[in-house]
């Protein structure tokens, strides 16, 4: 294996140093580890929503890295389009399909994670050595001036997109329209088709035929209007928690904190005096005078 040093290491190094300013180097050494941390956090986070937020961090830092490389328009587009639109779309879908948003720990294929990690290390080594060898002799050009008409600003980019790349640009319009149509077709549910939505009347009849667990709707959250949080379970007349009102997704209010309201609902504590003009203090009510 030949050594990877270029033929004129000192000269190449000196010109390369000149194209990367100190400020850009500082920005890179701050933003690069942040981007890596975001990527690793996305892969290793158990909760899918946490994964999405880690990915937002990576995409934001990538946008700032574009800015550092004098690609201003692309940097802001990255921040607006990726973190603003695409990641929010991801979060919407996660919230809609969030029932099993956390990953299962069970490995279906034996040794798949280990094999994946080994493959990753191999691919990273391949990329790194290929680039280190391929780019050893390359002298980077001076960065583009973003304020010149040919630079990396919106003006320079627009000049190239609407000139040399006009036909691909027109093709992206067709692509976007096709994607919008595809999204509509895939997410469309017909009321009359198989598995479509039922009308209210059909639903009521099906409920009373016993096709559902119970004829009535499930009890809503909240303890007889003392709380309207989804986390607060409904109480049955004897003061016990109605199991159907517990949310599967979020952590419910613990039963210990509901103790006072449970006693009130069960009738162990006398009701507040209906003739009193002013409601008694919370502390006195709690003691059950």
């Amino acid at each position: 294996m030949t050594p990877m040093t270029p033929t004129t290491p000192l000269l190449a190094q000196a010109t390369a140093e000149a194209t990367v300013s100190t400020g850009e180097a500082i920005a890179f050494w701050i933003l690069g580890p942040l981007a890596l941390a975001g990527a690793l956090g996305m892969v290793f986070a158990r909760n899918a929503v946490h994964s999405a937020l880690w990915l937002v961090l990576t995409m934001l830092t990538l946008g700032l890295l574009y800015l550092a490389q004098q690609a201003q328009f692309l940097g802001f587009t990255q921040i607006i389009v990726y973190t603003g639109a695409i990641m929010m779309l991801f979060l919407f879908v996660l919230m809609l399909a969030g029932r099993d948003s956390s990953d299962s720990v069970v490995e279906v294929l034996r040794g798949q994670r280990l094999a994946g990690a080994l493959l990753g290390v191999g691919v990273a080594g391949l990329f790194a050595t290929a680039m280190a060898r391929g780019l050893a002799d390359v002298t980077p050009a001076a960065p583009l001036d973003p304020w010149s008409p040919e630079g990396g600003g919106a003006g320079g980019l627009g000049r190239v997109i609407f000139g040399d790349y006009l036909f691909p640009f027109e093709l992206t319009a067709a692509l976007l329209i096709t994607a919008a149509m595809g999204g509509m077709v895939l997410s469309f549910t017909t009321r009359h088709g198989k598995g479509g939505r039922k009308t209210q009347r059909e639903l009521v009849e099906a409920r009373f035929r016993g096709e559902y667990e119970r004829p009535s709707p499930k009890p809503g959250p909240g303890v007889f209007a003392t709380a309207n949080s989804v986390a607060t379970p409904a109480l049955l007349p004897d003061g016990s928690v109605a199991p159907e009102s517990l949310s599967e997704l979020i952590e419910n209010t613990s039963a210990a904190r509901l103790e006072e309201q449970r006693r009130q609902v069960a009738g162990d504590v006398p009701k507040p005096d209906a003739h009193a003009l002013v409601a008694p203090d919370e502390s006195e009510e709690g003691k059950g005078k």
């Binding site: 990915l55 990576t58 995409m59 692309l74 099993d100 960065p143 976007l176 895939l186």
Partner: protein
């Protein structure tokens, strides 16, 4: 430092995304890993354009962004359609294209 460091960072991000696609089981997270790979390639395109002193790399990254936006719309709609019929977003449960 040289602009090559950007390419190394992009290679690492691409690798992390590829490992995530192989390892994770949630369809939405797998999709996010694909997005990370696209972003890593974008970074390398911008850096290559910068090394050559041309703006074409940025234009290609721009087109990749457009394709990624279209891909996200269709992909997430497919995931939602599968979730609606199978009540699961795990790729282990998905073994049929229909039903």
């Amino acid at each position: 430092m040289t602009p090559t460091y950007y390419l190394l960072l992009s290679a690492l991000l691409f690798t992390i995304g590829a490992v995530g696609v192989l390892v994770r089981r949630n369809a939405v997270v797998v999709f996010m890993c694909v997005e990370l790979m696209l972003n890593a390639v974008n970074l390398s395109l911008v850096t290559f354009g910068r090394i050559n002193g041309e703006i074409d790399g940025q234009v290609m990254a721009f087109f990749v962004m457009v394709v990624a936006a279209a891909e996200v719309v269709v992909g997430l709609a497919i995931i939602m359609a599968i979730f609606r019929t199978r009540r699961s977003a795990s790729i282990d449960d998905t073994n049929l294209l229909k039903y």
